[in-house]
C-alpha cells in the first residue's frame, strides 16, 4: 500500500521506525483497509436497498431493486404521490397551514427586530405575544390540543433562535429554525383519516411534547439531586439509577389499567406520558451527572448575589447544561419516534404513529411493498436527519450510558 507510510504520520507514535517495521505495517494495513472498505460497503447496501425499493412502483416489485440499475425507468415517484393523495386536504387545513407559515415568519422577523437597537422592546414583545396567541388559538380550533402543544413548543424555539441569530449576526440559523418550525406546524395540522400522512402527524404530536416534557421535568429533578441538599438524597438517586434498566414491558399492563380508569387509553397524551415516565430515569441520571460537574463557585457566586434557587437553575445551570440537554433531547426523540411497542399498546387507531401504521401493512408484506417501502423510508429519514445534524450529541449521550 503506497499510502501506508503517509498514514503512520497521523498517529502519535515515534517517527523513527525501521524499514522492517514499516514493511510489517504496510502488509498488515493493506488487508485491513480492504476489509474495512468491504464492510463499509456492506453496511450501506441494506438502507440503500430500501431507498431504491421505495421508488419502484408496484408493477416492477416482482423483481429486485437492483434491476433499476440496468433499467432506470423503473424509478418513479408514483409511490410517494400515492401516499400524499391519501390525505384529503381540507379547507381548514389549508387556512391553518397558511396561518402557520405566515405567523412563523412574522414571529421570526418581529423577534429579530425587537432585538435591534431603536425598537421599543415592549412593542416587539406585544407583537410576538399577539401573533403567538392568535396562532395558538387557530391551531386549537383546527388541529386540537395536541397541535396547540406543538406550537407552544415551537414559538419559544423560534424566539430563542432569532435572538441567537441577532446576537451572533447569522441569519442562517434563524432561517433553518424557521423552516423546521413551519414544517412541524404544517405536519401537526394534517387532518385525521389520511393514512400514512396522518400517522406522520401523530408521530410528530407524540414525539415533540414527550421530548419537551421530559427535559422540563428531568432537568428540575437533576438540579435538585446535584445541587440541593436534602435528607435521603443519595438513596433516592440510587433508586433512580436502579430504575434505569426497568423493562418497559413491566409498565404496559398496569398503565393500560390506569389509563382505562383515567380515560387516557388510546389517546396521544397517554402515549406521551408513558414515554416521559420511562424516559425519566435516564434523563435525571444523565443531567444530574452533568450538572454536578459545573464548578460550584459559579452557583455560590450567584447565590451570594441573592439569586433565588429558580434563578440559579435557569440562569446558571440550564445554559451550562445545554450539551447534556441536547443529548437527552436527541435520545428521547429517536426513542419515541422509533417506538413501536408503546404505541401499539396505548395509541388507538386515531392516534397511531408511523411505526404502527406501517406495521399494519406488514401482514401481506410481498403485496404491499409499494406502500411499506416509502412509508418506512419516511419513517427512517427523520431520525437520520436528526442523527446527521446532531451526531456529536448523540455519541455523547451514548457514552454517558443509555441502557434502555
Amino acid at each position: 500500500m503506497a499510502t501506508a507510510t503517509a498514514d503512520a504520520g497521523t498517529l502519535p507514535r515515534p517517527q523513527r521506525r525501521g524499514l522492517a517495521g514499516r514493511l510489517v505495517e504496510a502488509v498488515t494495513a493493506g488487508p485491513a483497509r480492504l476489509f474495512l472498505l468491504v464492510v463499509g460497503f456492506l453496511w450501506l447496501v441494506p438502507s440503500f436497498g430500501l431507498l431504491m425499493a421505495s421508488f419502484r412502483p408496484a408493477e416492477v416489485q416482482a423483481t429486485g431493486w437492483w434491476q433499476a440499475f440496468t433499467n432506470p425507468g423503473q424509478l418513479t415517484i408514483t409511490n410517494y404521490v400515492a401516499l400524499l393523495e391519501q390525505a384529503s386536504v381540507t379547507g381548514d387545513f389549508a387556512v391553518a397551514s397558511l396561518i402557520a407559515v405566515a405567523g412563523t415568519i412574522a414571529i421570526a422577523a418581529a423577534t429579530r427586530a425587537t432585538m435591534a437597537e431603536g425598537w421599543p422592546r415592549i412593542a416587539g414583545w406585544v407583537v410576538i405575544g399577539g401573533l403567538s396567541a392568535y396562532m395558538l388559538y387557530s391551531f386549537y380550533v383546527v388541529g386540537g390540543i395536541a397541535a396547540a402543544i406543538v406550537l407552544a413548543v415551537a414559538v419559544p424555539t423560534l424566539v430563542t433562535a432569532a435572538r441567537a441569530a441577532f446576537e451572533g449576526g447569522g441569519l442562517g440559523r434563524l432561517a433553518v429554525t424557521t423552516l423546521l418550525v413551519i414544517l412541524l406546524e404544517v405536519i401537526s395540522l394534517i387532518p385525521p383519516g389520511g393514512g400514512i400522512l396522518t400517522a406522520l402527524r401523530n408521530s410528530v404530536l407524540i414525539t415533540v411534547p414527550s421530548c419537551v416534557l421530559l427535559v422540563l421535568i428531568g432537568a428540575g429533578a437533576a438540579y435538585a439531586f446535584a445541587w440541593v441538599k436534602f435528607p435521603g438524597r443519595d438513596i433516592v438517586f440510587l433508586i433512580v439509577v436502579a430504575l434505569l434498566v426497568v423493562p418497559l414491558q413491566v409498565g404496559l399492563i398496569p398503565i393500560a389499567d390506569l389509563y382505562g380508569k383515567l380515560g387516557l387509553f388510546g389517546t396521544i397524551p397517554g402515549v406521551v406520558l408513558f414515554h416521559v415516565g420511562f424516559g425519566l430515569p435516564f434523563a435525571v441520571f444523565l443531567l444530574r451527572n452533568f450538572f454536578i460537574g459545573i464548578p460550584h463557585e459559579l452557583l455560590e457566586a450567584a447565590r451570594m448575589d441573592g439569586a433565588s434557587e429558580w434563578r440559579v437553575f435557569s440562569r446558571v445551570v440550564l445554559p451550562l447544561g445545554i450539551p447534556a440537554i441536547a443529548s437527552l433531547l436527541i435520545f428521547q426523540f429517536l426513542w419515541v419516534w422509533n417506538d413501536l411497542l408503546v404505541a401499539l399498546v396505548f395509541a388507538g387507531s386515531d392516534a397511531a404513529p408511523l411505526t404502527v401504521a406501517i406495521r399494519e401493512q406488514l401482514r401481506t408484506f410481498g403485496g404491499n411493498i409499494q406502500i411499506i417501502a416509502p412509508g418506512a423510508f419516511i419513517q427512517m429519514l427523520v431520525p437520520l436527519i436528526v442523527f446527521f445534524a446532531f451526531q456529536r450529541y448523540f455519541v455523547q449521550g451514548l457514552l454517558a450510558g443509555s441502557q434502555r
Binding site: 441494506p46 441538599k229 414491558q249 422509533n338
Partner: protein
C-alpha cells in the same frame, strides 16, 4: 456511566478520552458546601425543593414504581384478575409450549447477539484507529443506530425475500452458485414412459439394455415449449447406428394441441439439444455423447455387451430456489444478523472511545519489547479495554433481552411467526393479542424484570464506586 462529571467540562470532540464509559480515571467533584440560611427559610426551601423534585417523583412513582408492584401482584392472579392462583402463571412460563419457545429463542439471542456485536465493534474500533477515512467508515456503520427496529425489519425483509429475483441475499447466492453449479437446461422434466425410463437420483436411466447397433427413443415430458432453448430443432428419428455404436433421440414427447403418440417421435415434436447421454455397464461409463439440435446422439466405441443408457443429472439439476431465511429454521439467526447490522456501530463507538483513553506508551512499550501487532492487541489492548467491553456487553444483553419490534416485524405474516417468538413478544401477544391474559402477561413482564435485575445491581455497584 458515572462519567458525566468528566463529560461536563469537555466537549467530546476535543477530548474523546473524556467519555470513556466506566474508565478508571473518574475525577471526584467536590460536594457543594451545605448552604446556611436563616431559620424560617425552612418552609421556603421545602417548597422550592418540592417544585424541582416533585413532578419527577410523581411521574416516576405513578408510571414506573407503581407498575412494578402492580405487575408483581397481578402476576399472582388469573387471566381476568378474579382469582388468586399463586405462582401458577410462572409455572406456565416453563411448561407451556409457546412460552418455552420464547424463552429458548431469547437464550439464543442473548448468547449470540451481544458477543458478536461486541467482537465486531472491537475489531472495527481497532482497525479504524489507523485509517485515514475512518470517519466515513464509522458513519456508515453507526448510521443504523438511528433507524428504528421497524425500518430495520423492513429493510432486512427485502434482503431475505425467498425469491432470488426479489431478495438480495438469495440473488447473490444464486449468482455465485450459478457459476460453480450451473442449473440444468431441462429442470423439472419427467419421462414420457416411466416404466421405460426411470428416475435415478437426478438422472434418468433406461429400464432395458442396449447393445451395439441398437437405437433408443428417450422421450421426456413436463416441459413447456417456453422452457426449451431457442435452438431446439424439430426432433429427428434416430439415425442408423453403425457398428460399435448406439444411436438415439432425446425429445419432448408432446405434440402441441394434442395428437401425437406417446413414445413415438412425431413430426412436430422438438428435439432437446445438449443433453449428456451416457452408456453405462456395470456401473462404469463406457461412452458419452451430447445430443444435437434435433435431439439425436451417437454413442461410439461400444463393442459387445449390453449397456443401459443414462441422461446425466446435470441436465435436470434444478435452479437454486432460494434459502428460506425467514422460515422456521433460519429465522432467528437471520434476525440476529439484522440486529448486528443495527448495533455494531454502538459497540464500535463506545469501544473506540475506550481505546482512545488507553495511554499510547503502554502499547508502544510492548512494541519496543518486540511484541507483534496481534500480541499487542491480545495482551495489552484487550485487557486494558476489559471494563469497557463489560459495559458494552451488559448494555447489549439488556437490550437483547427486551428485543421485540424486530421479531414482530420480520415474522409477521410468515410461517415462522410462532416459532421465532421471544419473551417480550409473547408477553405482548398474551396480554394485548386475542387472549387478554393479564395474569400471564404480568408474570412474563416480571420474569423479564428479574432477568434484567443483575444488570441493575451492576449499575448501582459501578455508580457507587465511581461516584
Amino acid at each position: 456511566m458515572g462519567n458525566g462529571d468528566r463529560v461536563a467540562d469537555t466537549p467530546p470532540r476535543d477530548r474523546p478520552e473524556a467519555a470513556t464509559a466506566g474508565g478508571p480515571t473518574a475525577v471526584r467533584v467536590p460536594e457543594p458546601p451545605e448552604r446556611r440560611r436563616g431559620a424560617g427559610g425552612g418552609w421556603k426551601r421545602l417548597l422550592v425543593l418540592g417544585a424541582f423534585l416533585l413532578p419527577a417523583l410523581v411521574v416516576l412513582g405513578a408510571l414506573v414504581v407503581y407498575p412494578i408492584l402492580f405487575s408483581v401482584i397481578r402476576s399472582l392472579y388469573d387471566r381476568a384478575g378474579d382469582a388468586f392462583i399463586g405462582v401458577q402463571n410462572y409455572e406456565t412460563i416453563f411448561t407451556n409450549r409457546q412460552t418455552l419457545t420464547a424463552v429458548k429463542n431469547n437464550v439464543i439471542w442473548v448468547v449470540f447477539a451481544p458477543t458478536v456485536v461486541t467482537a465486531l465493534g472491537l475489531v472495527f474500533a481497532v482497525l479504524t484507529e489507523r485509517i485515514r477515512w475512518a470517519t466515513a467508515f464509522k458513519v456508515a456503520v453507526f448510521m443504523p443506530m438511528a433507524i428504528s427496529f421497524l425500518a430495520t425489519g423492513v429493510i432486512w425483509r427485502l434482503i431475505y425475500d425467498e425469491d432470488p429475483n426479489k431478495g438480495l441475499a438469495n440473488a447473490v447466492i444464486q449468482g455465485t452458485a450459478g457459476i460453480i453449479r450451473q442449473p440444468g437446461e431441462y429442470a423439472g422434466a419427467r419421462a414420457s414412459e416411466e416404466d421405460a425410463l426411470r428416475r435415478e437420483g437426478g438422472a434418468f436411466v433406461t429400464s432395458r439394455t442396449f447393445s451395439s447397433g441398437d437405437t433408443a427413443g428417450l422421450g421426456l415430458v413436463a416441459l413447456t415449449p417456453q422452457d426449451l432453448p431457442p435452438d431446439a430443432g424439430t426432433a429427428a428419428q434416430p439415425p442408423q447406428a453403425p457398428s460399435g455404436a448406439i444411436t438415439g433421440t432425446v425429445w419432448l414427447d408432446f405434440t402441441r394441441g394434442g395428437g401425437g403418440e406417446s413414445g413415438v417421435v412425431d413430426s412436430t415434436e422438438k428435439g432437446l439439444p445438449r443433453v449428456t447421454v451416457e452408456a453405462v455397464r456395470d456401473g462404469q461409463v463406457a461412452a458419452t455423447a451430447e445430443t444435437a439440435a434435433d435431439g439425436t446422439f451417437t454413442l461410439e466405441g461400444l463393442e459387445g455387451g449390453r449397456y443401459t443408457l443414462r441422461l446425466a443429472e446435470s441436465n435436470f439439476r434444478p435452479a437454486f430456489a432460494g434459502f428460506s431465511w425467514l422460515g422456521p429454521t433460519l429465522v432467528t439467526p437471520a434476525m440476529i444478523v439484522a440486529y448486528i447490522w443495527m448495533w455494531a456501530g454502538f459497540a464500535m463507538v463506545v469501544i473506540g472511545a475506550g481505546l482512545a483513553a488507553i495511554p499510547r506508551d503502554v502499547m508502544e512499550a510492548a512494541r519496543v519489547d518486540g511484541a507483534n501487532e496481534w500480541q499487542v492487541f491480545r495482551r495489552v489492548t484487550v485487557p486494558l479495554l476489559a471494563p469497557v467491553l463489560a459495559v458494552v456487553l451488559v448494555t447489549l444483553a439488556i437490550n437483547v433481552l427486551k428485543v421485540f419490534d424486530i421479531v414482530l416485524v420480520m415474522t409477521s405474516g410468515t410461517a415462522s411467526a410462532a416459532s421465532a417468538e421471544v419473551i417480550a413478544l409473547r408477553m405482548w401477544k398474551a396480554a394485548f393479542g386475542g387472549a387478554r391474559d393479564f395474569g400471564l402477561g404480568s408474570a412474563l413482564a416480571v420474569f423479564l424484570f428479574l432477568l434484567v435485575a443483575p444488570a441493575m445491581a451492576f449499575n448501582i455497584k459501578r455508580f457507587r464506586t465511581e461516584g
